[in-house]
């Protein structure tokens, strides 16, 4: 299980290192505008081929790149009902704080759970390899957090049940 996680993350890291070659590119259509081309997708010559990396049917990562911006969308594993709501709750919590994260997108791309949008400005402000480190660590942390939340719910449930039933003995 851990094996596939490392392979998955290494593959994502390598793809990001290749895809994150961003430079400033003012908008071709409108004067004095500078837009992230990956969001608009109007001019095909500015876009690179999107890459989809799947760990299994439930988990995948879509990396779309363009000349001045890159969009990374993730789908997180959700095995049962409880993991489903925990993931939704946690990712919504993160998305609402997208301002603080700068590279996070407020709404995930259709069909995915969470999305990042990195522009050339971010690459100018921050070291590229550290940014990629951050993205990969983010993915690991989400998985860890959701399984820890689920564990805490189960542990609390067990404790609550034991205390209640002990009252009858």
């Amino acid at each position: 299980m851990a094996n596939t996680l490392r392979l998955y993350l290494t593959c994502i890291r390598n793809t990001l290192e290749a895809a994150m070659c961003l430079q400033n590119f003012p908008c071709q259509e409108v004067e004095r505008h500078n837009k992230p081309e990956v969001e608009l997708k109007t001019s095909l010559e500015l876009l690179l081929n999107p890459v989809l990396i799947c760990r299994n049917e439930a988990e995948k990562c879509l990396i779309e790149s363009s000349i001045n911006s890159i969009r990374i969308s993730m789908k997180v594993k959700q095995a049962d009902e409880l993991e489903n709501i925990l993931a939704k709750k946690f990712l919504r919590f993160l998305s609402m704080r997208a301002e603080a994260f700068q590279v996070l997108r407020r709404k995930p791309v259709q069909g995915y759970d969470i999305s990042f949008l990195i522009t050339n400005y971010h690459c100018e402000d921050m070291h590229k390899h550290k940014l990629i480190d951050f993205i990969v660590q983010f993915m690991e942390d989400i998985d860890k957090e959701i399984s820890e939340l689920k564990l805490s719910v189960n542990t609390r449930g067990r404790l609550v049940a034991t205390e209640f039933l002990k009252q009858f003995i």
Binding site: I85, F93, F101, Q102, V103, H127, K130, S152, I169
Partner: protein, 321 residues
């Protein structure tokens, strides 16, 4: 605090304060609302400082568990038995309340321990009044007397417009709770908690606890129940209470635990959600710190001198200018 406590802290505090310093000199008129829509109103006037008027309002019962004369079956007898000469029930109760009692503080026993025990009992008026019909059924079980309602479905109120069900039998009492929650997240968390109850019962240490079952559909015991009672979005929990669970001192505790089971689960579901929020906030902070590490050093230096609007010059630039 994991378990819900029977005496209301609000009532107990006021009673203890009054008894300790009866010549306080101020009139008292307080309201309080507790979980499950139970309201209290306390009044003390300095004209008669030894008399306290306590009014209790109970949650609205659903149609299958209607209160006759405004109180659950057996409530008045239970109050008289628990409090004796200290309490006088006023009829009719104050407007908007199900019960109004006059407490004669001068008639409290002078022995410190007995007085404290009685004050705690008065603060547990909710358990005495709402739990009266349940207490009657369980007392019959403890004394192994055959009750008139054996094998029939008894509905009792525990929340506004919701009830739980008892099936008294000769050797045991089966208690069934339809669990309903309004929030969708609550429903999923509660379902996982309730399944833990079943799992926990299986451990060897809890062999003497009441057997516990959970099912998403109404169990067979609820065959005669009205249709609204049969919808429950977090399943049905069934406990089987045996005489050993209600003998002697355990009777009061069992009554309170069964009466507040839904409130207990709901309380812990909310605590769990609060804890998850704290964890998520902590995780967000650590992620933002990781992002800050991605920024090069000059940016970080600017952050250190927050609030000052000058640009920090490096040594080279300072020498040049």
């Amino acid at each position: 605090m994991i378990l819900l406590q029977s005496p209301s802290r609000f009532l107990l505090q006021i009673l203890q304060d009054r008894v300790q310093s009866p010549e306080k000199g101020v009139d008292l008129d307080c309201h309080s609302v507790e979980f499950g829509d139970v309201r209290y109103h306390i009044q003390i006037s300095m004209k008669k400082p030894q008399v306290m008027a306590l009014s209790v309002s109970l949650p609205i019962p659903p149609p299958e568990a209607i209160f006759y004369s405004g109180l659950p079956v057996g409530a008045i007898e239970a109050i008289k038995a628990a409090y004796g000469p200290i309490v006088q029930i006023l009829d009719p109760p104050k407007d908007g309340y199900n019960l109004t009692m006059k407490l004669y503080l001068s008639k409290l026993p002078s022995d410190e321990e007995q007085r404290q025990a009685l004050l705690v009992k008065i603060a547990s008026v909710r358990e005495v009044v709402l739990g009266a019909p349940l207490r009657v059924v369980l007392k019959n079980l403890a004394s192994k007397t055959v009750a008139p309602d054996v094998d029939q479905l008894v509905a009792l109120v525990h929340r506004p417009e919701e009830s739980f069900f008892l099936v008294p039998q000769t050797e045991k009492v089966i208690v069934v709770y339809p669990m309903r929650f309004q929030d969708s997240i609550d429903i999923v968390l509660a379902s996982s908690f309730l399944q833990e109850f079943v799992e926990a019962r299986r451990t060897a240490a809890l062999n003497n606890a009441p057997p516990c079952m959970w099912s998403p559909s109404p169990p067979l015991e609820l065959k005669g129940a009205p249709a609204e009672a049969l919808t429950a979005n977090a399943g049905f929990v069934t406990f089987v209470i045996f005489p050993r669970h209600v003998e002697g001192k355990k009777l009061d505790r069992t009554v309170w635990n069964l009466l507040t089971f839904h409130a207990y689960v709901s309380y812990h579901v909310k605590c769990s959600e609060g804890f998850m929020h704290t964890r998520m906030r902590r995780r967000v902070e650590s992620l933002i710190q990781a992002l800050d590490r991605a920024k090069p050093d000059t940016e970080k230096m600017k952050k250190v001198v927050q609030g000052k609007s000058f640009k920090r010059l490096s040594l080279k630039e300072a020498r040049g200018s």
